[in-house]
């Protein structure tokens, strides 16, 4: 993938330079057929002298149609080469040889007939050698040589300036300008370039400062022989050099910039390491971390301090995932500097993968950072499918988010979701992307149970009206007369007007037969998991159709997943769910779907049957890490084609 991408990039850049070179030859009346020379010039180049010696220039002067033929080939050959490479997805070495030999010939003839100056075109010829091979090793070998040659061009100029003492000659730059800009200075000199040139000639100090600055800039390319770390900077310096050359010396040396492609390709060779970014949905990280530790030599997680504290209920995250580095965002610190440090880390360590486990906010920041992140492989966990695809322009924030999403949807082609049905739905919306289902966590087997009295029903999740229907739960307990004591635990933050009202309603029912527990604020993961372990039954009164975090309608089980999918896999406890909430087969064994109050009472009895937990345990064996290696490999492999591919 990387190889074919680099090949395409080289082809694109090369011909984006070469074809304009020919175009500008035509515009500036420099095509051989436009020049139709009558004489040829000696430039003390042995290759040119050989051509002159064998009589080619003389023959061409005698046969002017040959000039048009050469110009025609200068345009046609690249097009044929390009077409062949695109069509066959490989280079034709025969065409490559023809083009390479032609290129040398054309450049030498252009120098013989109208003094093109060979220097910037050597890199074109060297780069064209890459079109001769379909071997990845040789391709990168040639590019490496071209890169060294490009660096050498600048370093050589710096060395000569120093070795010949030009940088130490205080008049050097003034003299160069006087010698080479005479035609400009001899005229009316009413342009700013002429006046600037005159000023520099009369002020050798500033002029020489420019010269020394140019030499220092050229010398800086020496660093490229020792490290690729500064290649992007060197590209910027090459552009700066060309611009300065144009402004000060009136030399349009832009053709040389084709060599910057050698600094670009491979400048971001990445080391296998996956960086995960997570904000608050830490409950979905465990499976991903288990897989990352199996598949990557280095795993780094950027997450909030609170997420780290609650990532693993039973033990410290560092103990559970010993090969993972956790970089924590201190409580109260700003998000953007943390995001900046994330991308800075990826750049400094040349990490190969970035997985965005949650992307709720700062979408534009992420889009811009990702745009500048080079070829890092990016994958994303989608929590709400509709929100991901829906663009809105109702406010500045929505507009920026929509623009960011448009970019991200093009850039990010690998997705993970928490349910197979969501994956199917996502694939319909984005058929050419790779979309896999990976659960929030893997099933570790049943936890040991304590005393079974009283009957404990846990309703997990924050107490809010949008997501869950607590009224129906309250209505049930207000009428239900159980045969034994019952304990109800609202296992979520109820610190809201709605939550308080619900809690008050249950509190009124409290008696020796009905024990009630509720919480305010965030529940630490250890306590959360402990309370779930104590449950005989989970009750998830989901509102299947809800409004998502981005005000988009979402459907639980189809476009978004509830925390229930993560909760279920902590143990083998059955869960009461509304009948319209559909989960696929491995989960289904744990579900007790209800559509009426009568159903609930009956299902509570079924849920307490001893055999059910054993059945759930057997079904949940599906959620072993080994069963998701393939999905994870597809998620993290750039070579894996999309569903269409």
């Amino acid at each position: 993938m990387q190889y074919s991408r680099d090949k395409n990039l080289l082809l694109t850049v090369f011909f984006l330079f070469w074809l304009p070179v020919v175009l500008f030859f035509a515009l500036d009346h420099r095509l051989l057929s436009q020049v139709r020379p009558a004489l040829f010039w000696f430039n003390r180049d042995l290759a040119e002298l050989t051509l002159i010696g064998i009589g080619l220039p003389r023959w061409m002067i005698d046969h002017p149609a040959s000039f048009a033929a050469m110009d025609g080939l200068a345009v046609l050959l690249p097009i044929i080469l390009l077409r062949s490479a695109i069509r066959n997805k490989r280079f034709s070495s025969a065409l490559g040889w023809i083009f390479t030999v032609f290129l040398v010939l054309y450049i030498l003839l252009a120098d013989i007939f109208w003094q093109v100056h060979l220097e910037p075109f050597v890199i074109y010829w060297l780069l064209s050698l890459a079109f001769l091979t379909n071997s990845e090793r040789r391709f990168y070998g040639i590019l490496r040589i071209c890169r060294y040659y490009f660096l050498y061009i600048f370093v050589s100029a710096a060395i000569w300036k120093i070795a010949r003492g030009a940088v130490f000659n205080g008049q050097e730059m003034s003299d160069i300008l006087l010698r080479h800009q005479g035609y400009l200075l001899a005229g009316d000199c009413d342009t700013w370039t002429c006046r600037f040139c005159s000023w520099l000639i009369d002020h050798p100090g500033p002029a020489q400062t420019l010269y020394i600055a140019a030499a220092v800039l050229e010398a800086f390319f020496l660093i490229g022989f020792f490290t690729r770390r500064y290649d992007r900077l060197l590209i910027a310096l090459a552009v700066l050099f060309v611009v300065a050359d144009l402004v000060v010396m009136r030399i349009p040396y832009w053709t040389l910039l084709v060599g910057t492609v050698t600094l670009w390709i491979g400048s971001d060779v990445r080391r296998p390491a996956i960086v995960i970014y997570e904000t608050t949905h830490h409950e979905n990280l465990p499976a991903l971390l288990d897989l990352c530790e199996t598949r990557f030599p280095r795993v780094i997680v950027f997450l909030k301090e609170s997420s780290w504290q609650n990532l693993s209920g039973g033990q410290s995250p560092s103990d559970r995932w010993p090969r993972t580095e956790f970089i924590r965002q201190p409580a109260g610190s700003r998000n953007r500097p943390f995001i900046r440090s994330l991308f800075s880390f990826i750049r400094r360590h040349h990490c190969s993968h970035l997985h965005l486990s949650t992307l709720d906010n700062n979408l534009l920041v992420f889009a811009l950072r990702i745009a500048m992140a080079g070829n890092v492989h990016i994958s994303l966990t989608v929590h709400e499918v509709n929100a991901w695809f829906r663009d809105s322009f109702r406010s500045v924030r929505k507009l920026s988010e929509s623009l960011a999403k448009r970019f991200l949807r093009r850039r990010v082609r690998h997705y993970t979701v928490f349910l197979p049905a969501i994956a199917d739905h996502f694939r319909q919306r984005m058929p050419d992307a790779v979309t896999v289902f990976i659960p929030s966590r893997f099933y570790m087997g049943p936890s040991p149970r304590g005393a079974a009295l009283p009957l404990t029903i846990v309703v997990p999740g924050s107490v809010e009206a949008n997501r869950r229907d607590y009224e129906s739960v309250a209505a049930f307990f207000e009428t239900w007369r159980p045969a034994r004591p019952v304990r109800l635990i609202l296992l979520g933050d109820s610190d809201s007007p709605y939550g308080s009202a619900i809690v008050a309603r249950f509190a009124r029912l409290e008696s020796s037969e009905f024990l009630f527990t509720s919480y305010k604020g965030y529940i630490p993961e250890r306590l959360y998991e402990q309370k779930l372990r104590e449950a005989d039954l989970i009750w998830s009164p989901l509102r299947v159709h809800k409004t998502g975090g981005h005000d988009e309608p979402e459907t639980y089980g189809l476009t978004t997943a509830s925390g229930l999918t993560a909760d279920l896999l902590l143990n083998n406890i059955p869960a009461l769910v509304p009948a319209e909430f559909g989960l696929p087969e491995p989960f289904r064994k744990a579900l007790l779907p209800y559509s009426s109050m009568e159903d609930i009472a009956r299902l509570i009895d079924i849920g307490r049957q001893a055999g059910l937990r054993g059945d759930i345990d057997k079904a949940f064996v599906f959620f072993r890490k080994e069963n998701f290696f393939d999905a994870f490999d597809r998620l993290t492999s750039p070579d894996y084609p999309g569903q269409k591919g």
């Binding site: 180049d45 042995l46 040119e48 010696g53 061009i153 000569w160 300036k161 030009a166 010698r179 200075l185």
Partner: protein
């Protein structure tokens, strides 16, 4: 691959040391590194086509280059008697290499026979986009003084 690259660099350095001679793809990248004393005069070719003097401001950089460069090249060619020194060195070199007869066979290919002034007039017409009736090229010498170039002499060179 590495060996080839080392050979390339060695040859490149060799060519660098050979100063004025190159052998494509081994060229010099000195980029204005020669230390020369300030010129006492500056030569400028003054071109007048159909009575109008051509000025750099009227052309793009590359087009002006194409106005000037052929004149410089022709001036060099005539000054060197069609590169007599280069041909002489080539002959010596080929004789030394035992290819003296080859040089004799190829010698005629080295000589220019074209008529530069008429070609230049025709080419300039193409560059300007119309046929040129009269063309005059002068060599003019200037001296840098008081922040500008002052003319110190001129010579009529091409007159068609």
């Amino acid at each position: 691959m590495k060996g080839l690259f080392i050979c390339f660099i060695v040859l490149q350095i060799g060519l660098d040391l050979a100063h004025s001679v190159t052998f494509f793809p081994f060229t010099h990248y000195g980029m204005f590194s020669a230390v020369e004393p300030r010129p006492d005069s500056v030569l400028v070719y003054k071109i007048v086509a159909d009575g109008r003097r051509l000025q750099p401001a009227d052309f793009t950089i590359y087009r002006w280059d194409m106005v000037q460069t052929p004149l410089e090249a022709y001036d060099k060619q005539t000054a060197t008697h069609d590169y007599a020194f280069d041909k002489d060195r080539l002959q010596q070199g080929m004789r030394w290499a035992g290819a003296g007869s080859l040089y004799s066979a190829l010698k005629t290919n080295l000589d220019n026979t074209g008529d530069f002034p008429s070609w230049y007039k025709s080419y300039l017409g193409g560059l300007l986009g119309h046929r040129i009736g009269s063309l005059r090229v002068e060599k003019a010498w200037y001296r840098w003084q008081d922040g500008r170039l002052l003319p110190i002499g001129k010579e009529s060179w091409i007159n068609l």
